[in-house]
Structures are given as structure tokens and as C-alpha cells.
Symmetry: C2
DNA sequence: ACCGAACTGTTCCATTTTGCACAGTTTTCC
DNA sequence: GGAAAACTGTGCAAAATGGAACAGTTCGGT
């Protein structure tokens, strides 16, 4: 019986871990500390990564000096899969934002299993569709919304991102500089809005950020 | 023998047409005139589209009133494939920007063939990877570049887009309003830069737009 | 416990961008 | 052919954003 692809907003509910266990897929585990780089922009690309635990920031340096944070990956996400389609080098730098366990899957091994295991390639297609969707939503937001709204949306998504454990809405630790690079603005701007949000009670922070979802969602309506 | 996925920048060199002929894939053809809608945002989504000939604009209305043009599709591109992953409705409106022939593939038929034909699902994965890449590049550009550069880049991509026939660099006809919605700015701004580019000889236009690639590329360097 | 590095809070101004308005031109459609 | 609709060329004031600077604070490592 053929299974319809699953879907979700932030982390695809796609449970590849079970899949990775079912399928006989050769992999090596890697442990990374907070802020430790996993691969660098320009490195030769010959493996696909899978986040087992923790979180990963993927950033790209564009043109001469400007940097963008394109995605934050969490448990269940693949990254570095560009190498499957003839990209010889990494398009950006991946680094851990928390203690992180990564499965490293050799490109050819990944291709072999995609060929051999139907259920795996179907799941992977589902994963790619979910990611496409997320990228498209990010692009739409960038095209349509003010930086205040983009920040609110990013905070909400990051809050949901931590959903695996805590019932509260604490975010992965993340500097204002990083937030600025995620929403395409300057740190001044992020700082300004963060204080604004705090004054209005939309978020709290002493070091860790906690968001009040319903209040912050109001920003997106306006 | 397993074939490595192909890759390209604008239209994946992925030749799904040959594939669609090889595979026994049920489909119906649809003809659309310029500006004719193919599907509307909110419509029930139960088929995947494949562009046989022509061009398609995919736009999304976000929030209350603002609109973004997320992608322009050409021959060889799929669109509306979100429905494969449990999206019940169309996320945006697709309409022809030129006389266009579309293959409409029923969602279940598409899923059937993806299951049945390895080479097809591998090609489709390659296509999804290429699209991911393109979306990511658009996002990066949006995060890093000024509107002048974004316009220049968009014009260059659109010029390449027409590469199937003409050796010259004529673009598909496209209003300044549409360009504005593609790069996330206002028509005033687009008009300003278009005149600027024309003065400097980067582009010509009497009605159709023609770009001088090498000169226009200079804008991206600055 | 200390030092340096990284991060935050804050200010200020130049520039970019928006949003609007209106006249002239081209296209489309009857 | 002619009217309506869509598109372009302007201009301009208000708002948002970028960019830099600097002091105070927290964090990380030794």
C-alpha cells in the first residue's frame, strides 16, 4: 500500500529516523558543540547530513561581505542535500547552535538507498516538498512583510521549533545579530523591535527568549 | 546503472518530457491564452501541472492585500506539486504569461508513477532539488541585495529564461508592476531603475525588453 | 577569578523605500 | 474606430531602513 507524503510547517513530521533504522543505510555519527562548524561554504560536497539531535544554522555569504542565515535545522531535518544534484561544493556554512548529533551519509550511499528503497525515496520526496514549501513561505514573507512582521514571524516559528520537549515557548539561544541575518535587516532594527515587543509583553527575556504566542501573532495581523 | 541527477540554474535541464513519454503517465493537455488563469489560490488541489510550452506566473496574495510573484515557470517545469504532500488547496494563483500548453497530471496518477518508475522518481527528486536551490537563491538575494540589484538579477534570469529559441535576449512581456511584485518593491522604484538601466545602455525597450547581459551583470558586482 | 570577546542598549542621521497622485501613452476589446 | 483598461513616466512628502558609533553587560575560556 502506498503512503501519501506527510507534511508539516516547521520540521516535517516526516520521521526519517525510523526510516534510517529500517533501511540499511550506512552512516557515521558526528558530535558538535555549540557554535562548532559542521562544514564551510566552499568545502567539497560529498555527503548528506541528517540532524539526529540539536540544532543547525545554515548561512551563506553573498557577494563581497553580506551574510544571510537561510535556515535553522532541527531533529529530523536533512541538509547539505544539494550535493545529490551535481553541486560540487557547499553553498553555505553549517554550524551547530546547540550540542548536536549529526548523521553523515555518503552521497553515493544516499543515492544507492534512494534507488533501492521505494519507501525511503517517497519519504525523501515528501521531505523535499515540505522544504520547498517552507522556503517559498520565507520568500513570500520577505517579499510582502515589513521587518517588524518578519521578526515576529521568525520568533513564532523558532518558538514552535523547540516544541519537541518543553511545553513552554523558550527559543534556542540566538543573538540579535543572527536574527537580523535571518530576516534581512540590521541589528539596530532587531534590537529596536525586541525592546518594543518586550515593552508590550509579547516576549520576555533575560538571556533566553520566551514568546507569548497569541500576543505576538497579533503583530502579524496588523 | 543509476544516473546522477542533473542540475541547472533557471530551468532544470531535467528533460521530463522524454520521461513523460517513456513512462505511461496519464495526462490531459490544456491550452491557455496570455493572462488566462490556470488555477486560483484556494482552489482544491488534486493535480500536478507540467509546462509543455509557454510560460506561467505563480503569485500569492499574502495577508490582507499584498501580492508576491513567487516564480515564473517555463517549458520543463512542474508546478502545483504541493498537493503531493497533503496540501488540500492551491497556495497561489497560476496564470499564463504567453500562449501556453500545460499537461495536467492527476495527483494519484503522479503518485502511482512515482512509486512505479524508479527513473521517474529519481528525475523528480532532481527537479525538486533544483527548485529548492532556486528558491534558496531567491531568498538569499532578497536577504542581501538592494532593490536595484534584485531587479538586475531578475532581468538577467528572465533573459536566460527565453533561451530555448531566440539567440537574442528578449524577455517575456512583463509589466513593471509584475516585476515589482517579483522583487518585493513598488512600481515607482522599478520604473526608476528601468529608466536608469536604459540610460546607461544596460537594457533597451520599446515594448519588449532586451538586456545587454555583460553590462547588466556589472550592476551585480558593485 | 580574570580577561577578552561577543552581545546588548541606545542614539543619530543619511539614504532608501513607500505610497500616492496625475498626466500621457499604449493595449485590449467591443 | 473608439472607449475603457492597463501601463508608463513623473514628482514628492512621509515613513522605514541602513549604517555607524560607543558604553555597558554578559559570556567563555583559562
Amino acid at each position: 500500500m502506498f503512503m501519501k507524503f506527510k507534511r508539516s510547517k516547521v520540521n516535517p513530521s516526516f520521521d526519517a529516523r525510523a526510516m534510517l533504522d529500517t533501511v540499511r543505510l550506512a552512516r557515521t555519527a558526528g558530535e558538535f558543540r555549540r557554535a562548532e562548524p559542521i562544514f564551510l561554504q566552499g568545502d567539497p560536497a560529498d555527503s548528506v547530513m541528517y540532524v539526529q539531535q540539536g540544532g543547525v544554522k545554515f548561512s551563506v555569504v553573498h557577494g563581497s561581505h553580506r551574510e544571510a542565515v537561510v535556515a535553522i535545522f532541527g531533529p529530523g531535518d536533512f541538509f547539505g542535500e544539494g550535493c545529490l544534484s551535481a553541486q560540487p561544493t557547499r553553498m553555505g556554512t553549517a554550524s551547530a547552535i546547540a550540542p548536536t548529533t549529526i548523521f553523515v551519509i555518503d552521497k553515493n550511499e544516499m543515492l544507492r538507498v534512494l534507488r533501492a528503497e521505494h519507501s525511503f525515496s517517497n519519504q525523501f520526496i515528501g521531505y523535499l516538498l515540505a522544504r520547498n514549501n517552507r522556503l517559498q513561505e520565507d520568500l513570500i514573507d520577505q517579499l510582502c512583510s515589513s521587518s517588524e512582521k518578519r521578526l515576529a514571524r521568525t520568533l513564532l516559528i523558532l518558538a514552535g521549533f523547540a516544541k519537541q520537549k518543553q511545553p513552554d515557548r523558550e527559543l534556542p539561544r540566538m543573538s540579535q545579530t543572527t536574527l537580523a541575518k535571518m530576516i534581512g535587516t540590521t541589528r539596530s532594527r532587531v534590537n529596536f523591535f525586541m525592546n518594543e515587543f518586550r515593552k508590550r509583553g509579547f516576549i520576555e527575556y533575560n538571556g533566553k527568549i520566551t514568546v507569548n504566542r497569541s500576543l505576538l501573532k497579533g503583530v502579524l495581523e496588523a
